[in-house]
């Protein structure tokens, strides 16, 4: 692998480039449709344009938490048990948390215009805040030390428990009387509440945010792969480096004296590891 390209874009590959390019194009089209082409609403005025950001963010948060639960299930299932699933679950949850924060902030701004308050303890809002809190707790649980296998099992069980909040949060507007509006698009047995360019732009927002989510997840998984490489190869290289240091500090060997080890002083140059990762760095 070329080291320079690794250093410049360590988690990039063909997939991330393609998905990233599509995401950029999609975001451009979405901005034009959302801010220029799409008409204002008769009730909400221009702020209806937030509908092209807020619901898509919330959906991607659900997708992230759903993938986290799927990865956790795959880890707990004996036939598919692998730490790769645990790492996939962790990566999905982290990207989901990013979208969940975006959902709450954009929703709060929208609520300030529509309801006159930045926040209210409405069932949907409260459950979304609870969802964010439990998945932040899940991410904190992943940072605990100890045996990786035991930790993965604990985290998988915790992720499944955390995921229980998702369907309750989604159905909150149907189960309780809430200030938050009900579903706009997916209404069982009824047509969507919006039409024309508004409907087209909103559907496009789900596709574009889906691409953005995929792009972020691919990069996040790339970071997991980097951490794996350091964990697997770093030890071997560190030992080789220490051996090389030991050879360099040893007294000069005479012509008849045996070399300290095969392939070190007399062989090709020993590999060097740049340094050990300081505690907390790279996390």
């Amino acid at each position: 692998m070329n080291y320079k390209s690794l250093s410049a874009r360590p988690t990039s590959n063909h997939a991330t480039l393609v998905v990233g390019g599509l995401t950029l194009v999609g975001l451009g089209v979405l901005l034009v449709l959302g801010l220029v082409v799409s008409p204002p609403d008769t009730v909400q005025g221009e702020t209806v344009r937030l509908i092209y950001v807020h619901p898509a963010s919330a959906t991607m948060a659900y997708v992230g938490f759903g993938l986290c639960a799927l990865g956790s299930l795959a880890y707990l299932w004996p036939r598919t048990r692998s730490l790769r699933w645990d790492r996939f679950a962790g990566a999905s949850a982290e990207v989901g948390v990013a979208f969940c924060v975006t959902t709450i902030v954009s929703g709060s701004i929208w609520g300030r215009y529509s309801w006159g308050v930045w926040w209210t303890w409405d069932a949907r809002l409260t459950l979304t805040a609870l969802l964010l809190a439990v998945f932040l707790g899940y991410l904190a649980l992943r940072r605990t030390g100890g045996d990786p296998v035991g930790r993965a099992k604990r985290c998988a069980v915790a992720a499944l428990c955390c995921f229980l909040v998702v369907p309750v949060d989604h159905e909150a507007t149907n189960w309780w009387v809430t200030l938050h509006q009900k579903d706009t698009l997916f209404r069982i047995g009824k047509s969507p509440l919006i039409h024309g360019w508004q409907l087209t732009t909103m559907l496009l927002s789900f596709a574009v945010f889906g691409l953005l989510f995929t792009w972020m997840l691919l990069h996040r998984l790339g970071i997991e792969a980097l951490e794996d490489r350091i964990e697997e190869e770093g030890y071997v290289w560190a030992v080789a480096e220490r051996r090389a240091e030991g050879v360099a500090q040893a007294p000069a060997t005479g012509p008849g004296r045996p070399l300290p080890g095969p392939g070190l002083a007399g062989g090709p140059a020993a590999p060097t590891m740049r340094s050990a990762i300081p505690p907390g760095e790279g996390r």
């Binding site: 690794l6 990207v95 953005l212 970071i223 980097l226 770093g234 060097t272």
Partner: protein, 61 residues
């Protein structure tokens, strides 16, 4: 309610916050990847080839 701007300031706030939060997360991922890549083991640079032996000279006499 922002009657003067018809809500455009809230739209700008919502879009801006979304870009800032998701963009910030992307920058965080980028920095984290770069830090990890810096600590990846890298192969040592190859040693330059040894200079060719000087031509053998015959000593006078």
């Amino acid at each position: 309610m922002s009657a003067a701007t018809g809500g455009w300031d809230y739209v700008a706030g919502g879009y801006g916050a979304t870009v800032a939060l998701l963009g910030g997360y992307v920058l965080y991922l980028r920095r984290r990847a770069r830090v990890l890549a810096r600590y990846l083991p890298t192969p040592a640079p190859e040693e330059p080839p040894a200079p060719p032996d000087p031509p053998a000279t015959q000593e006078p006499g």
